[in-house]
Structures are given as C-alpha cells and as structure tokens.
Symmetry: C2
Subunit: 352 residues, 2 copies
C-alpha cells in the first residue's frame, strides 16, 4: 500500500521566492531527493514566467557569459507588428519562438522530511546554450561521497541529459551532456555492478514504437554504451503513450526495484494521465527484467493530483529509503506542487 | 570541381541478386567504402520487397534464432479482412504494421573502382530485434588493421547506430548499439586524437530546432560521451529540413574535411532535395568548426539523380582518397543506384 501524506501538498509555488524581480513562480515540482548529513534535500524544478505588465508581453530568458547564466526579461510591446502570440506556452517575435516559461533547479532542506526551508537562490540554472530553455527534473544518486545530479536540459536542440556533481549541495561541478537529445528520465544506480556504472534512460525512440525505458553502462559516468531496451509501453490505457524511469532503483534481496512512470490516454488529445508503476531488475544482470507491474500502483486520485497547471499528473524522480525499510516517495503533482506518499520496500515488492 | 563519372550509375538494382527466392531487389545505394588489399570495397544498402503474387500481399521479414537472422515471406490473402493496405511503404495486418521493404548490406569489390563484382549473399543483415526492419547506410573506418563498420538499425524502437568490425570483409563481429535511437549518420574518424576515438553523429534533436551534426568522443568505440552540437541547419532552401554527416573526414593540412549532406525543401511536402556540402574541423580540437560551405558543392542535376525510387537524392557515406590527393566519391542516387564523382582534396578545400 502506498499512503499519501495527509497534509499534501508539502510545497506549493507560493512558498518559493522568484529568482529575480519581475519573474513569477508557476510551480515547484518533480524533486530529485537525497539524504545529506541527516537532512532531506530536495532539488526542485521551478518554472518561472514574467509578471504581466499592461501593454507588454514579457518572457524570461538567460544571457550567457563565460559559462555563467544571468536571468533577463524580454519585453515586447503588445502592438509590435513583429509579435505573434502563439499560445500560453510561447510567443513568436521576429519569427523566433520564445517560451513563456523557463525552469531552474532549487534546493529545499528539511529535518523531518515534511517541513522544508526553501533556498532563495537557484542551485542549477541555465548557463550554456543547451540549457537556454530551462533545466528540469533532477535525479540525485549518491555514490561513495559524491552526489551525482542528472537533469534535463532544454534548448532549440531538443532535450538532453546533463550530469553535475556536488559533495555539499553548495558547490556544483558540471560534467556536460551524458545522453544526447532527445533523451531524459535518466536514473543512475547508486552502486557499480561489475565495475560499471549503470543507468536507466529514455531515448525518444519513437518510430513505429513508443518511448521506452532503456539500459546503459559506463566506466566513468561520462561515456555511455551497451544500450538495451528494457521495457516498452503496452497498449493499455495507462501506458499507451509512453513510459520512463524514475530515480535510482532500490536494492532489495529480490532485485533492483524501480518506480517508473507511464502515460496513457483514451486515444484523444488532452486526455493524458500519468501513473506510477513498478519494475524489478536482476541484481547482477540488471538488463534482465524479473517482474513488471501489470497495472499502476498509483494513479491521480486527489484533487491536487487531478487539477493544476497540468491536470492528472503524478511523477516521481526522488525518494528516501530508511534503514527500517520504509520509503518516502516525493512526487510532483500536476506539474505544480510537491507531495509525499509513504510505503515500504516490502509493500512495494508485494505489489509486484 | 566535382566531376561525375561519365558512365554513371556504376551499379543498378538489376545487377544485384535477390537474397532469397521470392525477394525482389529495389535498390543498391549509399555504399560505405574502403580500400582492402588494393581493392575497392563497397558495402551497399540493398532494399528488397517481395515478388508480387496474384491474390496475395507479401512482405519480407526476418526470423531470429540465437542471434542469427533468416529471411522469410509473410503472405497474406488480399481478401483477408484483417489486412489493410497503408501505402506503398507498409501494410497493416491484424493492427500490426509491416514495412513492405527490408534492407540488408551487401559487398561489391573492384580492382579499378569502376567495375564491381557483387556478392550473391548479404554481408550484414537483420539478426536481432533492433534490426527487424532493416540495416542501412554503412560507413567504414579503417583504424590500424581493423575495419570498423557502423550502420543504421531500424526497428519498432526507431533507428539507431550499430558497430561491427572486420579484418577481412568475410567474418564480421557485432559490437551492439553505440548511439541509441533516434540516431544515425555516424562517421568515426580514422585515427584517434589525444587517445580518444572521435565520431560525428546525428541525434534526432528535433524540438524547436532541426536535426544537426554532433560530435562525440570514446576511449573504446563502445562507450561515447562529451557530446557537442557542431553545426545546425540554416533557413536556406538547401538545408532547411536537416543536415547529417557523411563518412570519416579526410585529414588535410588545413583541418578535418567532411562532406556532409543537407536536405531542403521549398516549404511544401514532397519537394525535398538532398545536397552535398563541406565542413572543415580543427585538426587537434575537432569540435571546433573552422569553415563551412555557404552553398552546396553538389546538387541533383543528372536524370539519374532527379528521377528514381526517391526523386532528387544524392547522398554519400563513402569515398577513397588516393595518395596523389584525388578523391573518388561514391554516392547513392535517388535511393536506387550507386554513382561516382571525382575531385581532389585541394579542389574540395578551394571550394570552401
């Protein structure tokens, strides 16, 4: 059984300070999660747009200088003949498309895993061209003393996965693109297997097929190979659009236990629903699937999961496994808030 | 100046024996090229469909057993209610899509580079699920004594790039996926730079942008990283759809010289034209672009380049550079035949 925390959501956009004056926080969701010095760390995705000003359309963007990024506002007169309003997601100015929101990654810290202190400043934010349209959905994997953070970088080149590392959640070292576009939903295992790092990834392998969960190996976390497709979406309504990995899997006696998401629709645009599902991989040969849930273990149910910035989305890319085997799943609801659901390793295994 | 060989095309589909009875050869094009023991080797892409039989629709496919592939024919009665004819490219039977053609790779050998003996049997053909819809567009890179062959594998998972190696063009060792889907147009440099192998690749980085030429590095040809976008298509009619690499670049005094393709249209579907273009990369730091041609160096001009299986396609993924600096560019015309165009390293550099 997976039990939602009674006072969900834990974090809402109103609790987050804009990263600069004139910006407006639209969401705080899909956190990467880790324990650091006994505290729970969330690396949240924070999308921002611009505060409305009468007579103008304003969009956020970052200016890049020497590998650093500086948030800016592009302000265009509403009556400028070169301006075209596309939809709520983007404006077109002089034939170039500017998205109306850009995400950065922000840290929140907690002693009890419930009450969070949210930092005032971004932790990871666009600094290079590949990140110009935002950085999204961090996953944290602790390997020895280093916390490896992977996140989605979005730009005109598409979306790809970047690696960064930190030891203190203050200084961050960027390691560049590890999975080139189009690729996201990367989960790096928290230990090596036969001297190799392992990751799940989600290349946009859409052709006759649909986006699936893939496996890759690396000797150094930088160069990746030995790609294999682990699981593909079936035709059922809960997964007929696509599937993708969550965070690093839990090592259990029965195998590597992964909570992954699926997206399904009833065949009509605008009816997409996100679900959580379970996957068990072989301990020594994690490219072998032992079990896979045949129906979702969690579906949007509560009002805060069904109505929001994007309706009917639950998405997890971070959790804490405690020494007693209990599991705190942090998850994004409706691309807007952060919620908590609690279960245990044994209960998850029993659901399979 | 690039001069077409007067008796083009060199190889036409009629010259190629079907890989099994009941199959029909539709093309012989886009060859990977190498010198081996003083002979020119082409690894050609050979698409096949099935010979028509009255009252039936037949499509080719491969059956897989223990990593081997066996060509087969799926024969469906035309009046079967579960059959839907989609278009010339595929049929749908019991809601599954079956392409009407599957490609394999076939060797042709020549002493003079003009007259080729075509082998009767496929060299590389679908053997695993990732190749179920065909193997296409080989590139050959000779590094020390080994010939590394990369090729596009097509399946329901999309298209991705596989690596294989041979020392004699008889035995081939398969090394698996090196660039996961969607990725093709991979060109591995024929020498290491600072102990690293280098490749150009073409992730399907379509989002706001368009498919572009990327750079990657590897210590072992298996695991790839340090991905960077080298060049993106501009808005001109000759490249406004996409661009992609050719074969391994030529090492010149001025830099690494690459012949790459561009695809442009006049904004209307069905008006796509393929062109050849030039790119010069820094010798020591090949992720740095020194020069790029500002208009195509070769465009479809001759009848055999303008009318065929697919109209208006010229595409090269193989060439021979001779000791005197002359260059034989083998290229596919109209996804149907193999042609030759001749030039020299100096002339190519002068065109830049």
């Amino acid at each position: 059984m997976i039990k939602r925390y009674i006072n969900n959501p834990l974090i809402t956009p109103e609790m987050v300070r804009p990263s600069m004056e004139g910006y407006n926080v639209l969401g705080a969701f899909n956190p990467g999660v880790s324990l650091y010095n006994g505290h729970v760390i969330l690396i949240m995705r924070i999308p921002e747009n611009c505060v409305e000003q009468k007579g103008f359309v304003s969009v956020p963007y970052y200016e890049f200088k020497n590998g650093e990024g500086f948030p800016r506002i592009r302000k265009i007169a509403r009556n400028d003949p070169d301006l075209k309003l596309k939809d709520t997601r983007a404006v077109i100015y002089k034939n170039v498309e500017y998205p109306s929101t850009v995400s950065h990654l922000r840290i929140a810290r907690s002693e009890d895993g419930i009450s969070f202190r949210i930092e005032d400043k971004p932790f990871i934010y666009p600094c290079i061209g590949y990140e110009s349209l935002g950085v999204e959905d961090a996953r944290i994997s602790k390997i020895e003393d280093t916390y490896y953070i992977n996140y989605t970088a979005v730009s005109g080149d598409g979306f790809c996965t970047m690696l960064a590392e930190t030891r203190d959640f203050k200084e961050v070292i960027r390691k560049g693109i590890i999975f080139p576009p189009l690729n996201k939903d990367v989960a790096i295992f928290e230990e090596k297997i036969k001297e190799k790092y392992i990751a799940l990834h989600r290349p946009h392998n859409q052709w006759f097929g649909r986006p699936s969960v893939w496996y890759a190996e690396s000797f150094d976390l930088i160069n990746w190979g030995n790609h294999k497709c682990l699981i593909r979406p079936g035709d059922d309504d809960y997964e007929n659009v696509k599937i993708g990995g969550g965070c690093a899997p839990i090592k259990t006696k029965e195998g590597w236990l992964e909570i992954y998401h699926s997206v399904g629709d009833s065949g009509k645009p605008g009816t997409e629903i996100y679900y959580l599902n379970l996957l068990l991989l072989d301990l020594d040969e994690p490219w072998k699937v032992i079990k896979r849930s045949s129906s979702p273990v969690m579906a949007p149910e509560k009002n805060y999961e069904k109505r929001g910035f994007v309706n009917n989305v639950i998405f997890t890319n971070g959790m804490i496994v405690k020494p007693d085997g209990s599991v705190d799943i942090y998850y994004g609801a409706c691309d807007e808030t952060i919620c908590l659901a609690q279960t245990s390793v044994n209960e998850l295994l029993n659901m399979l």
